[in-house]
């Protein structure tokens, strides 16, 4: 449980507090294609937080999200969700416990219509339904019968985020949702992420490259490098320059 990372006071403080964090990673190790990618990541995310994870390509950001979801097997350490151990839980079960991932690529079924895609995300008991989604992204209502594969990149990304939201998750994991989008769409995506965090109380973990944008929306910033947490601090305590130094 001990942490040797610099700037780790916030995480340590969170751990020592009496409330159980929604997500806890404890010395998590993981490999991709035989190469170690996560080398002992410890991280707590409290209910309702908006955490941004920064790091350059190959630092292990995507792997971190995929490991939480069970898509990458854990080689060491422990992951728990609201106190419950999910280290070895299969992906579909993790999803049913309230974790949604918007993957970096193809977070949709291109051979199905928008409506069919959204149905795949839906949970009967959820607070978020088609109406809420169409309110967030009105264009999807008009395009609901269209095959996702025939839509523009930005529209597809809206579909991907919508599918993840349709399950009314407790924890939303966003893997670089703004990659390849036009600036106005990037702004819209960040807006939606903030909106679901504040309006629906959904905890958000956002993996991003865009430091400026992150500092505008996140409450806490985590920097990962070489598979280790290099910094974990409230957004108020960090500057873009400080982050650049760690990358």
């Amino acid at each position: 449980m001990s942490t040797s990372v610099p700037d780790g006071n916030v995480a340590a403080a969170a751990r020592s507090s009496s409330t159980t964090p929604l997500l806890r990673l404890d010395d998590v190790h993981a490999e991709v294609a035989g190469q170690p990618v996560l080398r002992g990541v410890s991280l707590d995310v409290a209910e309702g937080e908006f955490v941004a994870v920064l790091g350059h390509n190959g630092a292990g950001k995507s792997t971190l999200l995929r490991t939480v979801l069970g898509l990458v097997p854990v080689r060491g350490g422990r992951i728990s969700l609201a106190g419950e151990d999910i280290t070895r839980t299969a992906t579909p079960q993790v999803v049913r416990k309230g974790v949604s991932l918007v993957p970096q690529q193809r977070g949709y079924f291109e051979n199905l219509s928008v409506a069919d895609n959204l149905t795949f995300g839906a949970r009967a008991e959820g607070r978020i339904g088609l109406d809420e989604i169409y309110e967030l992204f009105p264009i999807l209502r008009d395009r609901r019968a269209q095959l996702v594969g025939t839509m523009s990149g930005g529209q597809r990304q809206m579909v991907a985020i919508s599918i993840a939201l349709m399950s009314s998750p407790r924890l939303l994991l966003l893997d670089e949702p703004s990659v390849g989008l036009q600036p106005n769409l990037v702004a819209r995506v960040m807006e939606v992420a903030t909106q679901v965090n504040t309006e629906y109380g959904i905890t958000v973990v956002l993996v991003e490259q865009n430091i400026e944008k992150v500092l505008q929306v996140a409450g806490r910033v985590v920097v990962i490098n070489q598979g280790l947490v290099q910094m974990d601090a409230p957004v108020a305590e960090v500057t873009a320059d400080r982050i650049w130094q760690l990358l």
């Binding site: 898509l71 299969a90 992906t91 999803v95 049913r96 079924f109 291109e110 069919d116 795949f120 599918i163």
Partner: protein, 295 residues
């Protein structure tokens, strides 16, 4: 002209047979990317089981039980063989070799277990009753085959397009990992596609057993033509595979007008090689996709 129409009819029969095997394989391949050559064994199993079971049951129940057993065989192959193999990292060519091994073993088990003679299913006299179609004719068994092939194909397309399960299969074909990410179990899809694919192949096997008898090695012959149909039809396209299989059957028979039977299959192979050289995506890229999308 007389002859041409009769050859077309015969081609429709051959095409229906290829289509049943091809569509089953296309469905399985599209969803799983498994080169399931043991599909040929499932085809043979349909015929052999039906032949074997008629010793104990009337023809109808025997055929139903045989198709069911073949479905169980197909599902068993994926759940007990391919899936554990994939979990240990085996894929692509390794999986193909395992499937080939399964094919050889199953073929030999049938040969040893059911004797050397061709397994001829006694379907009853209705099967060989001549059905006149204008001045042309087929036997009732052939008519039944064509009807069943079209019905099963139509049913499958409807199932895929209209039902939740069908959409899950389509979703899995496009993006298997994302199916897990939205919280669905991929095992369900594997069982469904193998069950449906095996059902189609088994029906074809039962017909062959009733018509001329099931023999060792026959499954492989049908499988090769069917894989050609799947490639021509555009890999993964159910409708494309069906249409291509029908065309192959028709072509194989109509070509008899201009060449001997020993050359027709060779001619089709040559055409096929030319086609995949020119258009590796198959013939179907444009047309059948639209049909599928609107289905």
């Amino acid at each position: 002209m007389d002859l041409f129409v009769q050859l077309l009819l015969n081609g429709l029969v051959a095409g229906s047979l290829y289509a049943l095997v091809a569509v089953g394989f296309a469905l399985i391949f599209a969803a799983t990317r498994h080169f399931h050559i043991a599909h040929a064994a499932v085809f043979a199993a349909g015929g052999y089981f039906a032949y074997f079971l008629t010793d104990f049951l009337p023809v109808g129940p025997a055929v139903a039980a045989a198709v069911l057993l073949s479905v169980v065989l197909g599902v068993a192959l994926v759940t007990l063989l391919y899936r554990p193999l994939e979990r240990r990292g085996g894929a692509g060519f390794v999986l193909f070799l395992v499937s080939l091994g399964a094919l050889i073993v199953i073929d030999n088990v049938f040969t040893v277990g059911l004797g050397a003679q061709p397994a001829r299913l006694a379907a009853g006299s209705w099967f060989t009753t001549t059905v006149a179609i204008g001045e042309w004719s087929l036997i009732a068994g052939q008519v039944a085959l064509i009807v069943v092939a079209f019905l099963l194909f139509g049913g499958l397309v409807t199932l895929l397009a209209k039902t939740r399960m069908g959409k899950l299969v389509q979703a899995f074909s496009a993006n298997p990992e994302f199916v897990e990410i939205v919280g669905r179990k991929p095992q369900v899809v594997l069982v469904v596609v193998y069950a449906l694919g095996s059902l189609l192949a088994a029906v074809a096997g039962v017909y062959v057993a009733a018509d001329t008898g099931m023999q060792p090695g026959l499954g492989e012959t049908f499988f090769i033509v069917s894989v050609m149909a799947v490639i021509i039809g555009g890999i993964g396209s159910i409708t494309g595979s069906f249409v291509a299989a029908m065309l192959l059957g028709l072509l194989q028979n109509v070509l008899l007008l201009v060449m001997g039977a020993e050359w027709t299959l060779a001619a089709i192979f040559v055409l096929f090689l030319v086609l995949i050289t020119v258009s590796p995506e198959g013939l179907a890229k444009i047309n059948f996709r639209r049909v599928k999308a609107s289905a």
